[in-house]
């Protein structure tokens, strides 16, 4: 296998800045509870800590692995350094970057696409952090507005409002790629609650749906039914 690294000034800069900031944030995230423990001299019981960690890791380790594999190609390497730190990928960073790239007429796998995706994700992160900071400062006056009964249906339906628009836009571009994952999700969303009484969390469904979409696309690509990603 050809493992020659892609060396360029830009690429080195991205990995250096990415590694430095990501490692820094990861260490600080661990430091916050650690400092509180030491300062107040209060520690959780070893069994409570390990039991809790085991439960969360059992659920989230597989989800995290799948997320890295599914989302990295969509946001690009430098976009990934940002989004795996700041989170909110499926509901914000990815739709944001996808639309920005499409409007700019660039593809995710190109150098130009990586520039637009990174600008888009960095901007999105900055805006979100500013809004959360405003929320923290103005928590008291904002609470009645955010929790008002009038606005409740709007907030409850934010994901359908986002993905209806996003869906129609992209399905118009290349509906063939959407058929398999969409049929799968609809089928599973009907059958699983019927059989088990429980619905499947989106985090578990996304990697499976993504994998099926890729397999179906490969099949159609080999057959010549799909020749491009859908951009004219």
């Amino acid at each position: 296998m050809n493992m020659k690294p892609i060396e360029s000034e830009y690429n080195k800069k991205v990995h250096f800045a990415g590694r430095l900031t990501a490692v820094l944030v990861i260490l600080m995230l661990i430091a916050v509870p650690a400092v509180i423990c030491l300062h107040y001299n209060i520690f959780p019981t070893m069994s409570g800590f390990l039991k809790g960690l085991a439960m969360v890791w059992m659920i989230y380790l597989p989800i995290c692995i799948a997320e890295v594999l599914t989302y990295t190609p969509m946001v690009g390497i430098s976009g990934a350094y940002l989004s795996f730190i700041s989170g909110n990928l499926s509901n914000m960073k990815i739709p944001c970057a996808a639309m920005a790239m499409d409007n700019a007429g660039v593809k995710g796998s190109t150098d130009e696409g990586e520039v637009i995706a990174t600008l888009s994700i960095a901007t999105s992160t900055i805006v979100t952090e500013i809004i959360i900071a405003i929320g923290v400062i103005a928590l008291v006056p904002l609470t009645p507005v955010l929790t008002s009964k009038t606005l409740e249906p709007a907030f409850q339906n934010i994901l359908p409002a986002l993905f209806g628009a996003l869906g129609v836009y992209w399905i118009m571009r290349q509906w063939k790629l959407a058929v398999t994952p969409l049929a799968f999700v609809i089928l599973v969303s009907i059958l699983v609650p019927m059989l088990t009484g429980k619905s499947i969390p989106a985090g578990l469904l996304i990697p499976v749906s993504g994998l099926l979409a890729v397999l179906a696309a490969r099949f159609m690509y080999n057959k010549g039914w799909v020749v491009n990603a859908g951009n004219e």
Binding site: M1, N2, V14, G18, T21, L24, I26, M28, L29, V32, P33, C37, F49, G52, Y60, V68, T70, P73, M74, L82, I85, S86, I94, P95, M99, A100, M101, N103, A104, K107, V115, T118, L119, A122, V127, T128, I131, G135, L146, N157, I158, L159, L162, F163, G164, A165, V168, M172, L182, V185, I186, A202, I206, S209, A213, V214, A216, Y221, V226, N228
Partner: protein, 236 residues
């Protein structure tokens, strides 16, 4: 000591402010790197500014549910820690799940329930902090390998790489389209409304060549269909 005194302490506020500042700086640094890279590649400032502007406007509305989660978390976890958690990796459902597991594994029923002492709060903090660290850690470990993999794929068959990326994207959006469609009711009405508005706007952009509208059509469709969701909730 009441755990909320720890949760709202100056020490906690100070540490959280530092972490959020670093996350902020990270974005600024990457913005500058990408901007310079774009200029070096011969991209126009106009094109890059358009992306920045539409991304900034789009990001406002999806940020509002984060504030809603903040409002929900503050009474039980204090102000600074929810601020930190919602400002970095993870999402509101994850944080609540992890915080609850942190409480239950210490033998307490749940967040803020009787017996939710400082010790239990600190366990919740640990579980929330460590539970989802895997995404950035795994990415850090495999970033170069993923990059090489994608570069090789591009060299062998760049069309297929484009299709692969598009397929992953379709896989993701299918989950968020399929579920509300099956759930029906207001969710279905909202998703159809949003789709109809976007369809109309996209057609208008093409027909009348209003290219600036393309940058905002997603935000417009989203806000308009959210407003209509309020109306649907009254008549349905």
């Amino acid at each position: 000591m009441d755990y909320l005194n720890i949760a709202n302490s100056n020490l906690m506020f100070g540490m959280v402010a530092v972490v959020i500042t670093v996350v902020f700086i990270q974005s600024v640094v990457f913005f500058i790197i990408a901007w310079k890279r774009g200029l070096a590649l011969g991209m126009t400032k106009r094109k890059m500014l358009d992306a920045v502007r539409s991304s900034a406007i789009f990001s406002v509305v999806p940020s509002l549910p984060i504030l809603l989660a903040l409002v929900a978390m503050v009474p039980v976890l204090g102000i600074p820690f929810p601020w930190l958690r919602l400002g970095v990796i993870g999402s509101a459902p994850y944080e609540l799940l992890a915080a609850n597991i942190g409480a239950q594994s210490m033998g307490v029923q749940g967040l803020g329930q009787s017996g939710y002492t400082a010790q239990v709060f600190i366990n919740s903090m640990w579980i929330m902090s460590l539970g989802i660290l895997w995404s950035p850690v795994i990415f850090l470990l495999f970033a170069k390998r993923l990059q090489t993999g994608m570069a090789n794929m591009k060299k062998n068959d760049s069309k297929w790489l484009e299709i692969l990326i598009a397929s992953l994207f379709f896989g993701m959006i299918s989950v968020f389209i399929g579920q509300p469609v099956v759930n029906g009711g207001i969710q279905l009405a909202t998703i159809l409304t949003s789709a109809a508005i976007m369809f109309t706007l996209t057609a208008a952009v093409k027909k009348f060549e209003i290219s600036w509208l393309a940058n905002f059509s997603l935000s417009i469709s989203m806000i308009a269909s959210m407003a209509l969701a309020i109306y649907y909730s009254r008549i349905m």
